[in-house]
C-alpha cells in the first residue's frame, strides 16, 4: 500500500477514520533537505501535478505604523519580475511554462503557492528561486501596483461587506494592529516606497518564519533539492517581533454605518476559543449546529426557513494568529435587518440556555468528520489544508488528531462552551444600510 496513489488515498482514509479508530502512520511526511530546510510532504504520483504552498509567518499585523498595506503590496510585487527578468519577461515565462504562482498577504502571513505540471517543474523551481531570492521590486511596477491598490481600496470603500468588516475590526480591535485596515489606507499606500518593501521583505523572509507543504507528483529527494535551491539562502533568524495577543474590546457594542443601499449587511461577532485550547473542537461542533449556513443549522432555519428574512446567514470560528473569534454575517432587506438581528440574538441566547440536542451534536460531528475528506480531493486542496494546519501550530498528524478530537466532543462540552461564549449582550455588531429602517 505504499504505491504512489495509495498515499493520497491513505491521507483521506486517515481523515475518514471516525471515532478514534487507530490508523497507521500518517501519510504526511516530514522532509528535511540536505541544507536543513524542512517541509511536509504528501507524495502522490497518480496525476502529473505538483503543488508547493508555503508561508512566511508575519503579515500586515507587523507592518510599521503608517505603512498599512505594505505586506499586501509586497505580495503583489513578488510577481513583478525577479533575477534577470523584468515584470513582462517574468510573466511570459510563467505563462509559457503554465506554472501557476501567486502570493497573498493576510494579517499573519505572506502565503505563496506554486502549482504546475510535473514536466514543467524545473522551470517552476527556477522561477520560484528567483522570486524568493532576488525579486526586482522596481519603481515602475510599484507605481502600477499602487494605482491598482488605490482603485481596489476605493472599490472596497463602496462595497457594503468591506465597509462592515472594516468597521467591525476597527472597533473590536481598537488599539491593536488587528484593528488597522490590512489592505492599507489611501494615505499609507501613497507613502509606500521601494525601500519599505525591501526592508519588510528582508525582515520577514527567513528560514525561521518559513513553513512549507508539498503535495503531489514529487518525491522526497526532489523536494529536498527544491527546498535548498529556493530557500536555503535565506537568513536563519527572523528579524521581526510578533504582535501581542489581541483581546476583543468589551465596550465595542453595536454600530450603524448609514449608507443608501438596496440591502443591509450585518457583521456580528463574539470572543472565541483559540485552536490550541482543548475546547476548540467543542466550539467547532457548536458553530456547525448554529451557523454552518446549511439547511438544518439553527440560524438559517430561524432566519430564512421559518421567516424568510434573509437568503443566507452564517457564523464560524475564526482563529487568526493572535485573536480568536466567532464571526457571523447576514444580508437582508433594510426593513428586515432589525428583525433578522433580533432573531439571531434570540436564537443564540436560547442555545446558550438550553444547549443542543443529542441528535444535533451527533449530526454535526458526523458532518465535520465526514466532510473533511471531501475537501482533500485535489493536490491543491490538500496543500491548503495542511499549510493552514501548520500555521495554526499543529503537527503532521493534525488530520487524524482533529478527527479524533471531534469524535470525542460530547453534548456537555457543547453546552459548557455555548454558555460561556454566547453572551449576546457582549456581541459586537456592525450594520451597513439605511439608518431609518434598521433602527
Amino acid at each position: 500500500m505504499r504505491s504512489a496513489a495509495g498515499l493520497l488515498a491513505g491521507l483521506v482514509a486517515v481523515a475518514a477514520a471516525a471515532s478514534g479508530i487507530a490508523v497507521a502512520a500518517s501519510p504526511v511526511r516530514e522532509v528535511t533537505s540536505p541544507a536543513g530546510v524542512r517541509a511536509w510532504l504528501v507524495e502522490d504520483h497518480s496525476v502529473p501535478l505538483f503543488a508547493i504552498h508555503f508561508a512566511f509567518m508575519g503579515g500586515s499585523a507587523r507592518e510599521p505604523t503608517g505603512k498599512e498595506g505594505l505586506a499586501s503590496v509586497l505580495a503583489s510585487m513578488l510577481l513583478e519580475g525577479a533575477g534577470a527578468d523584468d515584470a513582462a519577461a517574468f510573466k511570459e515565462r510563467l505563462a509559457a511554462s503554465s506554472v501557476r504562482m501567486g502570493f497573498t498577504a493576510s494579517r499573519d502571513a505572506i502565503v505563496g503557492t506554486v502549482e504546475g505540471l510535473t514536466r514543467r517543474r524545473e522551470e517552476a523551481v527556477a522561477l520560484l528561486a528567483a522570486v524568493v531570492g532576488t525579486p526586482r521590486l522596481e519603481d515602475e511596477s510599484l507605481e502600477r501596483i499602487r494605482a491598482r491598490t488605490l482603485a481596489e481600496l476605493a472599490f472596497a470603500d463602496r462595497h457594503p461587506r468591506s465597509i462592515a468588516l472594516n468597521d467591525w475590526y476597527a472597533r473590536a480591535f481598537a488599539g491593536h494592529p488587528y484593528g488597522r485596515r490590512a489592505e492599507g489606507t489611501p494615505e499609507s499606500i501613497a507613502g509606500i516606497t521601494r525601500v519599505d518593501l525591501e526592508s519588510f521583505r528582508r525582515q520577514l523572509f527567513s528560514r525561521a518564519s518559513l513553513r512549507v507543504v508539498a503535495v503531489g507528483d514529487i518525491d522526497a529527494a526532489s523536494l529536498g533539492a527544491l527546498l535548498d535551491r529556493v530557500f536555503a539562502g535565506l537568513p536563519v533568524e527572523l528579524a521581526m517581533a510578533p504582535p501581542r495577543t489581541a483581546p476583543l474590546r468589551e465596550d465595542a457594542g453595536v454600530a450603524l454605518v448609514d449608507r443608501d443601499l438596496p440591502s443591509a449587511i450585518a457583521i456580528f461577532g463574539l470572543p472565541g476559543i483559540p485552536a490550541s485550547h482543548p475546547d476548540y473542537f467543542a466550539q467547532l461542533v457548536m458553530s456547525q449546529i448554529l451557523g454552518s449556513g446549511q439547511f438544518g443549522s439553527r440560524l438559517l432555519d430561524a432566519v430564512r426557513v421559518e421567516r424568510g428574512l434573509a437568503y443566507s446567514v452564517s457564523m464560524a470560528p475564526l482563529d487568526d494568529g493572535y485573536a480568536s473569534l466567532l464571526l457571523g454575517e447576514v444580508e437582508t432587506a433594510n426593513d428586515k435587518a432589525a428583525a433578522a438581528l433580533e432573531v439571531i440574538r434570540r436564537t443564540l441566547a436560547r442555545f446558550a440556555a438550553e444547549g443542543p440536542t443529542e441528535e444535533e451534536v451527533a449530526r454535526a460531528k458526523r458532518y465535520l468528520i465526514g466532510s473533511l475528506p471531501l475537501g482533500l480531493d485535489t493536490s491543491v486542496r490538500i496543500a491548503e489544508t495542511l499549510l493552514a494546519a501548520r500555521l495554526a501550530g499543529h503537527g503532521p498528524d493534525y488530520i487524524r488528531e482533529r478527527q479524533q478530537a471531534i469524535a470525542a466532543v460530547t453534548r456537555d462540552d457543547v453546552d459548557r462552551v455555548a454558555a460561556r461564549l454566547l453572551q449576546t449582550d457582549r456581541m459586537i455588531v456592525t450594520v451597513v444600510g439605511r439608518a431609518a429602517s434598521s433602527r
Binding site: 502529473p48 510577481l79 509559457a96 443608501d260 443566507s312 458532518y367 480531493d377 493536490s379 491543491v380
Partner: protein, 469 residues
C-alpha cells in the same frame, strides 16, 4: 435547456451516439486517450447515467442534471425554474421540509443546487458508502415533491432576498443583467435566471407544481457520478433507485430558438454611487462548444486568452502596462453550452476619460482582427489552457461539472473528451478568423459603469438610474 433544446428524436439520436462512444472507448483510442474516461448508460425509463471512475479517494460526487432551466420559464413567470430548484429542498411524501440537506450533512456530505438558463443541477459529495442513500433521496424528490402553500410563500421571500443579495447589491451584476437583456433581445436568455422581481412576487404553488410535473422526470434527467465507484456498480445502484421510477414520456420541448445573427451593437451606460472608477464591461455573442463546428470553440478559447486573460494578455500589455489607461483588465469565455459570450472587463485608471479606455480596447481588438496573433502567443495560450484542463480534471467536482454541462447541452461524451485534440488543431489563422468574425462591433453590447456624484441623487434618496428597481 432551450438554447440547445432537443426534440425527442434528437435525444434518441444523441443517446445512440453516446452508446457507440462507450463501445469505442474500450477499443483503440485516439491521441487524447488520457481524457477518455466516462461510461454512459440509459435506463429503461429513459434516465441517462454517466460514470467517471476516480478511485484515488473513497469519495463520490453525485449530480442530477435536469434538461430544464430558466429559458423554459413561461412568459410572465420569470424565475420559476430557479424557484422550483429552491422548493426541491422542501417536503416530499417521505421527507419533511429541509430534511434532505439535514440527512446529507448527517452523512458528512455536502449538497447544493444551481439553476442556469439551460439546466438545473443538484449535487451531493459524500463518502462512497453513502452513494446509494443520496441516489435514493434524489429519486424520491424527482417525483414526490408536495408543494404546500406555506412552504411556497416563505421560499418566495427567500428568493426575493437572494435576488437582492446577488444582483441589486452589486452594480456590476446589475449591469451584466442589462447587457444580457440587450445581447439576447427577443430570446429567453434575455430574462435573468433569478427572474424579474415583480414576476417572482406572483409565482404561486400551482405555477411551481405544474412546472415540476412537466419537467421533472427520469426521461429529462442525466445522472453524473464521478468518484470511487465502478461503473457497473453505479449502474446497479441507479437501477435500484432511479430505475424504480415509472417511464414518462419526455415533456414536449420546443425546438431551439436560435439567436438571430446580431448586426447592431448596443451600449448601456449606468451611473452608480457605489462605483469608484469607470468600469468597462463588454460582451460579444459567440457560439459555445455545443453550437460551434470543428474546433471553433477552442479557437475562441485561445483568442480570449490572448486578448484578455491574465497579465500576458494584449489588453493588459496595451492598457495597463504601456498605456496606463486602466488599472486592471480581464476577460472570459465560458463556452460549454450552445450560446456563449466572450466578455471583456477593464477598470479605468484615475483621471482617464472612459473614451480613451474604450479606444485603447478597440485598437487592441482591431489590431488582433487585422494582424492576428504570434506563434508564441498561441503556444502560451495552449499551454495555459492545457494546464487548467489538467487541474480541473484533478477535481471530481470540476470533472463531473464538465461532463454534465456538456451532456445537458446536447454534446456527446466524445465531443467533451475531444477538447485536447481540438485544441491542438487551432492555428494562428483560426484565431484571427474567429476574431474577425466574432469580435465584430455589431455582435457586442458595450457597458459602462460610471461613478455617480452625490449631487446626482434624486430627492427621495435613490439613485436616478436605479429608480425602477
Amino acid at each position: 435547456m432551450s438554447g440547445m433544446k432537443l426534440t425527442s428524436s434528437a435525444v434518441l439520436r444523441s443517446r445512440a451516439w453516446l452508446g457507440l462512444v462507450a463501445l469505442v472507448l474500450t477499443g483503440t483510442i485516439p491521441a487524447s486517450a488520457a481524457d477518455a474516461r466516462a461510461r454512459h448508460f440509459t435506463l429503461d425509463n429513459g434516465l441517462d447515467l454517466v460514470v467517471i471512475e476516480d478511485r484515488r479517494a473513497p469519495v463520490v460526487t453525485h449530480m442530477v442534471w435536469y434538461r430544464v432551466g430558466a429559458a423554459d420559464d413561461p412568459v410572465g413567470k420569470s424565475g420559476l425554474a430557479h424557484f422550483v430548484e429552491h422548493l426541491m429542498f422542501k417536503s416530499t411524501g417521505r421527507l419533511a421540509s429541509g430534511e434532505f440537506s439535514r440527512l446529507v450533512a448527517g452523512l458528512g456530505g455536502n449538497d447544493n443546487a444551481l439553476t442556469s438558463h439551460d439546466s438545473t443541477l443538484y449535487y451531493q459529495r459524500v463518502a462512497r458508502e453513502h452513494l446509494a442513500t443520496v441516489m435514493a433521496l434524489e429519486a424520491d424528490r424527482m417525483v414526490n415533491l408536495r408543494f404546500t402553500p406555506e412552504e411556497v410563500a416563505i421560499e418566495r421571500e427567500v428568493v426575493i432576498e437572494e435576488r437582492r443579495q446577488r444582483i441589486d447589491a452589486s452594480p456590476l451584476n446589475v449591469l451584466s443583467e442589462e447587457i444580457n437583456a440587450a445581447l439576447y433581445r427577443g430570446h429567453p436568455y434575455a430574462v435573468p435566471v433569478l427572474g424579474w422581481p415583480h414576476e417572482i412576487m406572483r409565482l404561486d404553488v400551482d405555477d411551481a407544481r405544474i412546472f415540476y410535473e412537466r419537467h421533472y422526470a427520469p426521461m429529462n434527467a442525466i445522472i453524473v457520478i464521478a468518484g470511487d465507484v465502478a461503473a457497473d456498480e453505479a449502474l446497479q445502484l441507479a437501477r435500484a433507485s432511479y430505475g424504480q421510477l415509472p417511464r414518462r414520456e419526455s415533456p414536449t420541448v420546443s425546438a431551439p430558438s436560435r439567436l438571430p445573427e446580431p448586426e447592431h451593437g448596443r451600449r448601456i451606460v449606468r451611473a452608480d454611487m457605489r462605483v469608484s472608477a469607470p468600469t468597462f464591461y463588454r460582451a460579444y455573442s459567440v457560439p459555445g462548444a455545443a453550437g460551434a463546428t470543428g474546433h471553433e470553440a477552442e479557437a475562441l478559447e485561445v483568442l480570449t486568452r490572448i486578448l484578455a486573460q491574465g497579465e500576458t494578455s494584449r489588453l493588459h500589455g496595451r492598457l495597463v502596462r504601456e498605456g496606463q489607461l486602466a488599472v486592471s483588465t480581464e476577460g472570459g469565455y465560458r463556452g460549454a453550452t450552445r450560446e456563449a459570450q466572450v466578455a471583456i472587463y477593464a477598470v479605468g485608471a484615475r483621471g482617464v476619460e472612459p473614451d480613451r479606455i474604450e479606444s485603447g480596447i478597440d485598437a487592441a481588438i482591431t489590431e488582433l482582427r487585422d494582424h492576428g496573433v504570434t506563434e508564441a502567443e498561441l503556444e502560451r495560450a495552449r499551454n495555459t489552457i492545457e494546464a487548467k484542463h489538467a487541474f480541473d480534471s484533478d477535481s471530481q467536482l470540476s470533472l463531473a461539472m464538465r461532463y454534465g454541462e456538456g451532456l445537458v447541452s446536447g454534446r456527446s461524451i466524445a465531443s467533451i473528451e475531444g477538447h485536447g485534440a481540438r485544441l491542438a488543431k487551432v492555428t494562428r489563422e483560426d484565431v484571427q478568423a474567429a476574431a474577425a468574425r466574432y469580435l465584430a462591433p455589431g455582435r457586442a453590447v458595450t457597458g459602462w459603469l460610471l461613478p455617480a456624484e452625490a449631487d446626482a441623487r434624486s430627492a427621495d434618496g435613490t439613485q436616478a438610474g436605479e429608480r425602477d428597481r
